[in-house]
Symmetry: C2
Subunit: 358 residues, 2 copies
């Protein structure tokens, strides 16, 4: 199989981890006789520094021409500390999601048995958890009109949904639920928000087309609580953009660390794969970041964009083997970890590559 992959490392630890996702893809190509070609492009603060634009036209063009995109992370402390800056790294990520029609963000909460103890949640509560989030990604308060009054004393963002936006992601989520345990939980705040009432009504309608799937509607506040109280209760979770952002980060604690979670953004065309962790500027450049989420993002690419199931499994198994052999990055180490086996970004990446090459 011939595929052309665009790699966008982005900012902070994105620079460090993405090379390992890319290297893993290259090794898989070698193992299975595929021909993967790679290109690189700038986005975020990295792009602002060079071009003044968080999403340069060139990046967007390259993205459109690629068969899939591997992305790192975005964001920089400079902007976080100065809310008045007009050009911001995150605009690049939001724009590429919108331009490529990446309306469905899949975030599987993949639980490795070896990491059960790395979580702050009790192992018996976690064991057996298997959640697949469908987070809407191109609507909501992220994309509604923003405004600031002239005296700068009033600011607003419009939380807005169109019915077709809810429908298309609901269909994707229901189809996934049919392939899984046939349970879907839709999260909203319909007791307060009009946009959530549209969300709920629409999901209620779509639900009728999937009578084999059991639907539950839950308020976001309750969901944020239930998710840690009883994570096994959930299977497919369908959420709006903002609520999904919050819930999936929270859910990362189920998997032991944010450093383990990959995501796939899909929709109208090319697929976009990224760890759910951010740019983490506090640890950037220190060889401390966990490269496994990037490698697992590559696995999602193989499976979802290229339909290469066996190749994807090979990648996941290599990650699993590293964990089974006792290796950890700092974020997933616990008191039982052999300190000699706590690895840096480079060493963990290299280890997985070595397993793949065997």
């Amino acid at each position: 199989m011939k595929k052309h992959i665009l790699v966008i490392p982005g900012d902070g630890i994105g620079q460090e981890v993405t090379q390992w996702g890319k290297a893993a893809l290259a090794q898989i190509a070698k193992n299975f006789g595929h021909e993967f070609t790679f290109d690189e492009a700038l986005m975020g603060h990295a792009a602002i520094e060079v071009t003044g634009n968080p999403l340069p036209d060139e990046t967007l063009e390259k993205a459109r021409k690629s068969d899939a995109i591997l992305f790192g992370a975005i964001g920089h402390a400079m902007y976080d500390n100065d809310p008045s800056l007009k050009v911001r790294p995150e605009q690049g990520l939001l724009k590429i999601r919108k331009e490529l029609g990446l309306y469905a963000n899949l975030r599987p909460i993949l639980l490795f048995d070896e990491l059960l103890e790395a979580s702050s949640i009790k192992a018996d509560i976690l064991q057996g958890t298997d959640i697949l989030f469908f987070r809407e990604l191109t609507g909501d308060v992220y994309f509604g009109e923003k405004s600031r009054s002239e005296d700068r004393n009033t600011a607003s963002d419009l939380m807005i949904y169109h019915k077709y936006e809810v429908e298309r992601i609901a269909h994707k989520a229901y189809q996934a639920a049919q392939q899984r345990s046939k349970r879907l939980c839709s999260v909203d705040k319909a007791n307060v928000l009009e946009s959530s009432r549209l969300w709920r009504e629409t999901v209620q309608e779509i639900a009728k087309q999937y009578p084999d799937v059991e639907t539950e509607h839950m308020f976001i506040d309750n969901a944020a609580m239930q998710l840690i109280k009883n994570p096994k209760k959930f299977d497919v979770v369908l959420t709006a953009n903002l609520f999904g952002d919050i819930l999936t980060d929270e859910a990362s604690q189920i998997a032991g660390s944010m450093g383990m979670l990959a995501s796939a953004s899909v929709g109208d065309g090319v697929g976009f794969y990224e760890p759910i962790h951010g740019s983490a500027h506090d640890i950037a450049g220190k060889n401390l970041a966990n490269p496994l989420a990037s490698i697992l993002s590559a696995a999602l690419m193989l499976e979802i964009s290229f339909g290469l199931k066996e190749e994807a499994t090979t990648l996941v198994n290599a990650v699993d083997k590293a964990l089974k052999d006792g290796y950890r990055t700092g974020d997933i180490a616990d008191q039982n970890t052999d300190t000699a086996k706590v690895l840096g970004t480079q060493e963990m990446g290299q280890l997985v590559l070595t397993y793949l090459a065997q």
Copy 2:
């Protein structure tokens, strides 16, 4: 001390638990020689059924005339299942918050040692946690303009903040931080939302007036994760209305159960005290609800509205004694609980009263 207290049981389990908060107040008055008089009023579904209005004028009038309000819960499955209904119970709660100027919602995460094991989070992660949330309560997407297009296919809610709204709650939160461990974490989504950028700018300004308090700014997604990863990291947490709704429900798992958490809403005038749990219609009328959050809400009333510290402590101690003696309601029972000591709403309420009367 003479005080007039308005009791609004509201909907669902609110009807069952609020009478115990009230009874506890009456017993405290007796013990300490105060004169507390009580009145009752309708709100929510209970009020819609009788008057067609989720917040009847009479309730609002009684509220304005009272020295403090003890509230139960609001909401009903009928409305949750039918998003198209125009008159909804929650409108009553939102309206009374707005009308009474209850802009600051204080939600202390009070940890009883006896309940450490009732949480899904590991005891060693929880131990020593002491968080006080300041949730903004009369602004945000809760109160911004709502709209629905004529074809009903587009719906929106305006997420909006005015600078003065952020300032007044920030001052309250900083003042509390000065009395505590002098750490404040402000939560927003300033990397995406204009209203959050106003929030962050304003908090940065107010922070300068409290140089003895250490300020941290955190994105809501990260906060939702950190809260369960390392709850001890937090002391005073300052949030907007929606983010506070989500984070405090999530944080209820730290206290073992939502059934244990009380809250105080204060602002321009009279104080309003309520459990953070909802109406829980699935268990309503079954004598299963935990009355302790209502009793602890009464304790907050004594302390905050009436300045009766000793009386408040007496109430908290009675709750603590019930737990120390091994008594639990279903929501806080664990595998170590003596099943003979798992009590219903009535029995737990009565037990605390008995302790108070001793």
